[in-house]
Symmetry: D2
Subunit: 292 residues, 4 copies
C-alpha cells in the first residue's frame, strides 16, 4: 500500500526503510531536505491517492499539533492520520475530534523498538476505530516483529498511546530493579564478579529479559560503568504514567520511585537534603557540611 510518513528522524527514517523493505510505497517528508522525499506537506498529500493514509512521526506536543493542524487543511474526508509519536494520550481525543470535524479518521500508535526496531521490528500498540485501524493493517504488519506478538489494537482512540505510556512506566521500574540490584552487588565484598553474575542470569532465572541482556552488553563495554555519570533524563511517559495513576487513584510505588530516582540524579545538590541537614543541626547540634 501507499503511506505518507512525516518525520524522518532516528525513528521515522528507520521505519520508512522497514516499510519499504516489505514492498510498500512510502513518501516521506521531513523539514531536513536531505532526507525528505518531497519538498512540502502539500506535495506529500498531492502524491498520495485518495483515500490517503498519513503517519505522523514527529516530537510530541507543539510539533505534532502543528502537523495535525496542517493536515486538517490539506487532507480530505475519508483520509486517515496516524500519530506514531510519543504524544500524551489526552492529546489523542483532541486530535481525533479536530480531524473528525472534516471527516478525517485518526489512529494513535505507540511504537517501541528504539535503535533495534529496523532489524527486529517495532512493537505497536494502537488505538482507534476498527475501520481506520483495519486500513493500516499492511503497514502494521510491515513494522511489527515477525511472529505472533508485537501488535495490538488496544482499544478506542488514545488506547495506543496509553498502553505505550504504561509500557514505559513498567520499563522505568524494571530498569530501576536491575540498577538497584547491581549497586548492592557492587557494594559488598563477598561478590567479586558482578558482571558475571549478571551474565549468568540470562538463562534459567526468573529475571531473564531483554533488558538484562542489554545490561550485560553495557557491562561488557565498561565493567563497573566507571565511564558514566549517574545521570538519567526522563522522557515524559514516566511522568504521565504517574499522573494517570493519580487521576485513577492507583498506587504505583515502584514506578514512581523510579521516576523520582531520575529526578534526583539530575540535581547537583539536593535542596531537600539541605533542609534535613539544617534541621539535624538545629535540634542535635549535628555537624553540617558547608559548601566549599
Amino acid at each position: 500500500m501507499q503511506l505518507g510518513l512525516i518525520g524522518l528522524g532516528k525513528m521515522g527514517g528507520n521505519m520508512r526503510e522497514r516499510i519499504r523493505r516489505a514492498g510498500h510505497t512510502v513518501i516521506g517528508y521531513d523539514r531536513n531536505p536531505e532526507v525528505s522525499d518531497v519538498k512540502s506537506l502539500k506535495e506529500l498529500v498531492a502524491k498520495l491517492d485518495a483515500p490517503r493514509t498519513v503517519w505522523v512521526m514527529v516530537p510530541a506536543g507543539t510539533a505534532t499539533q502543528t502537523v495535525i493542524d496542517e493536515l486538517k487543511d490539506l487532507l480530505s474526508p475519508g483520509d486517515v492520520v496516524v500519530d506514531g509519536g510519543n504524544s500524551r494520550w489526552t492529546d489523542d481525543e483532541k486530535h481525533a475530534a479536530e480531524l473528525g470535524i472534516k471527516g478525517i479518521g485518526f489512529v494513535d500508535a505507540g511504537v517501541s523498538g528504539g535503535v533495534w526496531g529496523l532489524q527486529n521490528g517495532y512493537a505497536l500498540m494502537v488505538g482507534g476505530d476498527k475501520e481506520h485501524v483495519d486500513r493500516l493493517q499492511p503497514v502494521f504488519e510491515a513494522l511489527k516483529p515477525e511472529g505472533p506478538y508485537g501488535y495490538v489494537h488496544a482499544g478506542r482512540v488514545g488506547a495506543g498511546h496509553f498502553s505505550k505510556m504504561v509500557h514505559n512506566g513498567i520499563e522505568y521500574a524494571m530498569m530501576q530493579a536491575y540498577a538497584e540490584g547491581w549497586e548492592l552487588l557492587e557494594k559488598v565484598n563477598s561478590v567479586d564478579n558482578v558482571r558475571e553474575v549478571f551474565r549468568s542470569w540470562q538463562e534459567g532465572t526468573v529475571i531473564r529479559s531483554w533488558l538484562l541482556d542489554l545490561a550485560v552488553n553495557a557491562l561488557d563495554e565498561d565493567k563497573h560503568l566507571e565511564q558514566l555519570r549517574g545521570y538519567a533524563e526522563d522522557s515524559g511517559e514516566g511522568r504521565w504514567t504517574v499522573e494517570a495513576a493519580i487521576d485513577n487513584a492507583v498506587p504505583l510505588p515502584a514506578i514512581t520511585a523510579s521516576l523520582f530516582a531520575r529526578f534526583a540524579s539530575r540535581q547537583d545538590d539536593s535542596p531537600q537534603m539541605k533542609m534535613i541537614a539544617a534541621l539535624r543541626n538545629q535540634f542535635g547540634g549535628h555537624a553540617v557540611e558547608k559548601k566549599d
Copy 2:
C-alpha cells in the same frame, strides 16, 4: 560423579532426577521414606566414596543448621558440603567455619528455576573456594541450563546466596512493575483489551521477559484474575535484600516498595490507615468509616 543429596522435596526431587539424567550417581536422603534412597544420613554417608560431596537442599534456618551439625560429625576431612537451599548469606560463613574446623569444605549455591528447572535447567550462583567449587563442576553442569549462561562462581563463601538473594530482590521489583502497569491499564476505560496488550509486548518491546510470558499465561487462565485474592507471601530473600541494603547504605526504593506492597496485601485492615482516618477526623471533622 557421585553425589549425596539431602532433601527431596519439590526442588530436591527434581534436581536428583536432572543430575541422574546427566549420568551421575545420586544417593538421596529425605525424612519421607517414600522418596528416600537410604534410611538415614549415616547410611547416606556410608554409601559415598571419599572424598564425598553432599548437597543439602532443605529449608533455610533450623532445618539446614541441623543437617550441617549432623554432617559435621559424619563426614571426614576432604569432604565438601554444598548448601543449595535458601539460606541467608550470613549463615554461610558460620557454616563454613563450623565445617572447616574438621577440614570439611563448604560451598553455597543459590538455585533459581522453580517448577521449570527440571526441564529448562537451574540457574546457579555459587560461592566458595575455587578448590571446592571445581570439584562440584560436573554437578553444576548437569543442573544448569544448556548454553553459556545459568552458572556463575560469584565469589567467596556467601557470594552465591547473596547473589541469589539480590536476584530475588530484583524479581520482586520486576513483578511489581508489571503488576502496577496491569492495574493501571485495567482501571482505564479506553483500553479494553489489557490481556492482548500484555501479549503483544512479548516481542519488539523493551519490557519483554520471561516474567512477562508468565503474566500472559496467567491472564490466559483468568482474563482479569478474578479468581485470585490480592495476597502475596514473601519468602525471606526480599527482606534480606533490604536489610543488606540498609547495612551497606544503598537506597533500594523500588525493591523495598515491592516488599512493603506484599506486607500490606496480607493485612485485613491497615492499622496505619486507621490512624490516618482518626487524625483526619480530629482536625477536619472528616467522616470515618466505622467497622460494621
Copy 3:
C-alpha cells in the same frame, strides 16, 4: 470593613462568625436560604458599597468557576474577588485573567484551620497583587490566629493556593509518619503501652506537634482505634502536590508514599497484588488464595 461572603458551609459559616466578632460587616450568601443573609448573588452585590470585596468559599472546580463567572458579570471595575476555597493553583491565573478583563482584582487565599478555626483562627496563605491584598488586610487580621504567625502574602496570584497545597502535602506525610510509627509499636510485644508512649512524646521530644496532640486525643477516645476502618479519602491537594512535583522534577518520595497509602486503603482487594500472586504461582507453584 464590609465583606461579601459566598458559601456558608462548615468553613464559610464559621468564618463569617469570626469576621463579625472582629467588628466587620459580613453579608453572606448561600444556596441554602436558612443560613443565607440575602436571596441571590445579585442582592449580595447590590448591598455592598463600591469598591466591593467578595470572598468566595465554595467547593473547588465547577462550583467555584460558576460563582466566578457570575461575579464577573455582577461586579464592577475596582472590585476584588478572593477565592478562599481549595482551588487548584492553576485555576487562579485563569480566574485572575477572566476577572481582570473587566478590571476586577483577584486574590487567592489558602485557608487552614478546619473545625478549630473559629476558636483558634485560620492560617492564611495569600497570593495576588499587593494592591488587592492590602485592601483585604482587615479581613485577614480578623481571620488569622492571634500573634505573629498564621498569615503570609506568599507571592503573585496562585501562590496562596500553591502554598496551601504544599501545606497539605506535608500534612499527608506527617500523618503517615505518626501512623507508621504507631502501627509498628502496636505490633511488637515488648511495648504494652503505646497510647502512653504517644502521650509522653508531647513534651521534650523532636516530634512534638499539634498532629501528635490530636493523635493522643484520638487514642483517648479509642485506645487501639478498634472502632475504625483503615480507610482514608484524599482531598485533591495531595494529588496536586505530586503533580506539581512532577512538573518541576522534584522528587517527593515520602509525600507520594502517603498519597498512595490512601489510594490503597480504599481498595477492597488490590488488583496489582493479584498479578503478583498469579506470577508467583506461575514460576514457583506457590499457592494462591482463591476468592471465597
Copy 4:
C-alpha cells in the same frame, strides 16, 4: 537520691547538671579526667551506697557492652543499671540477662532532647521491671520536662529503646515531609517568599510543630540554605526502625523513603543511576554523560 553516671559527653554532661539542679547527688565518671568526678569505675562504685543505681550514657555498641561487662563484675545483687544510650533494643534483653545472672537489675531508657534538654528537659521512654523502674523515679522526674508529659514506662526490658527508636523513625519522615515541601516551594516561581510561608505556618495550621519552628530558625540563619550541602548522616535508629518493620511485616513507606534519601545524599554519584544511563543508551541510543 544518689546516682552513678557513666559518660559525660554532650548528653551525659548536661544530664548530670540537670539532675544535680534537682537536688540529687550525681557521681560522674568519664574517660576524660577533666570532666570526671572519679578516677575509675571502681572508685565510682565504691562511692555509692548500696543498693546502687548506675546510669550508663556512652555510645551504643562496643562502648556500652564494655561498661556493662565491667559493671557486672563491680556491682552487687540488688543494684540497678540503666542504659540511657542509643542502644538497639535487641541488646537490652542480652544486657538484662547478663546482669540478671548476678542479681543486678536492668532498665533501658530512650532519651530525647538533644542540645535543648538541659533547659527544657529530656523526654524519657523507659523499659524494665516495675520494681527497678520505680527506684529510678526521682531521677526520671529530675530529667523530664515539667508538666504531665515527657515520661513513659513503655513496657518490659527493651520497650524504652524500641519506643525511642520509633520516635526517631517518625522524626526522619517528619523532617523529610518539611524538606520535600520546602524544595517544591523553592522551585516554583509564583511563591517568592518561602521562608515567610514557613514562618506563617507556625500558628493555625495542621502542620505546626517544634520541627517547623526549628526550620524557621534555620531559614532565618540562611534564607535559602545556600551555605549547606545536601548531605545527611543517619544515626542507626532509622535503620533499626526499618529492620524492625521488616521483622514484623509492617509496611513503612514514608519512613523508609526518608532513610533512603539520606543514603543517596551521601553518594557523590549514584551507581544505580549509572546503570539506568547505560540501559537507556543501549536500547534507545540516548546520550549518556561521561565523567569529566
